[in-house]
């Protein structure tokens, strides 16, 4: 899923302050799971903006709605209708959702309320970890289901660097990280060991083909059988 975090309120206020009628649009899938853009968070932000503008001496018309997925156009039809009465829209979706909504609202400014962070997993309650870079050429089958591109701070493909200590990545020395970051390559080793597949480590991985990643401009997937 996509993990997002709310922008500082002062940044959001600056973006939307010229507009009187605001529509906040939440997204009830990924960013709801990461507790940043679902129904609850949309209501929190709506109430907070209402108060912040009032404290600053202005009363705004702030409305809120939420859709199941902002990145899928079919889900946006109701929002388009609601946005007809708004001067601006504040989206609590990831960057993909914000852009899909903006594409549907050619005459209404659409602003992001979140900073999109990464593709990740809910590791524990209140803790989300990045575990996929969308590199376009997945190696997980070779590394025991643990991604060295994402989870090794250096993205190394053939074993750990010399900086790991007691199972921890050396980036923990540079700044305090809670909980600390583990050495991905130690995890890969342990995982392959428990699977009885340590022999996988005997074959060095070739240089990675980065052309499938984001270095080649915006990527697209085209499926002829799905096209209209």
């Amino acid at each position: 899923m996509i993990v997002g975090t709310r922008k500082p309120l002062v940044e959001i206020l600056e973006m939307v302050k010229p507009y009187h009628r605001l529509l906040l649009v939440g997204c009830d899938t990924c960013v709801a799971e990461s507790a940043s853009g679902g129904r609850r968070e949309t209501s929190e932000l709506a109430a907070a903006l209402e108060m912040a503008f009032r404290v600053a001496g202005t009363d705004k018309d702030i409305r809120e709605t939420c859709v199941d997925r902002q990145c899928i156009h079919e889900f946006l039809l109701a929002v388009v209708e609601a946005a007809a009465e708004a001067d601006a829209v504040l989206s609590l979706a990831c960057g993909a959702g914000v852009q899909a909504l903006a594409a549907r609202l050619p005459k209404t400014p659409v602003f992001p309320a979140l900073n999109t962070q990464f593709i990740g997993e809910t590791a524990e309650r209140g803790l989300w970890l990045e575990n996929c870079r969308g590199c376009g050429n997945c190696l997980l089958g070779l590394t025991g289901g643990i991604c060295p591109i994402t989870r090794c701070a250096k993205g190394l493909l053939n074993g750990p660097c010399g900086g790991a200590r007691d199972g921890w990545c050396e980036i923990n020395l540079a700044r305090e990280i809670t909980p600390p970051v583990t050495c991905a390559w130690l995890e890969i080793y342990d995982r392959l060991h428990s699977l009885g597949q340590l022999n996988r480590l005997l074959e060095p991985l070739p240089p990675k083909d980065w052309s499938q990643g984001d270095a080649g401009g915006p990527r697209r997937v085209l499926r002829p059988d799905q096209r209209p």
């Binding site: 309120l9 609850r40 109430a47 108060m51 912040a52």
Partner: protein, 141 residues
Amino acid sequence: METLIKVVLLACEQACPRPQLWIKPLAEAGLKVRMVQEPCSSKVEVFQLLRLLARSADLVWVVACPEELCRLCEGSIRMERRLAHAQDYLEEIGLERERLGLSLLAAEDEAGRGKVIDTIRAQAQSLGINPGCRQPSAGKE
């Protein structure tokens, strides 16, 4: 325009089975008091706290059971964290964190109840009207 300070109590019904024991002394102190009884403080969400402050309250106070008495085991602990999250929002807005409060109290703790009521009264009077709250003339609740 209404000038009474408005206090909303969100009370776990296990901790506050008799609302009048709270409402009466606070009303006698000149506050406009509303109590919303909850099955557990774990049902109180951040958006509800903020929405109350935005639309109808100068001070919101949550009364929950002590941690060891909470029937949902960790309802009170999580309430404390959600309250802190809502208070962070208030700080960003430029409002006092103290406009949101929490007390953990057993239903039979009369002395404790008296102290909490004194704290709510003093805090409401010291903070006064919430400048972030919609005034009655500005529209319906």
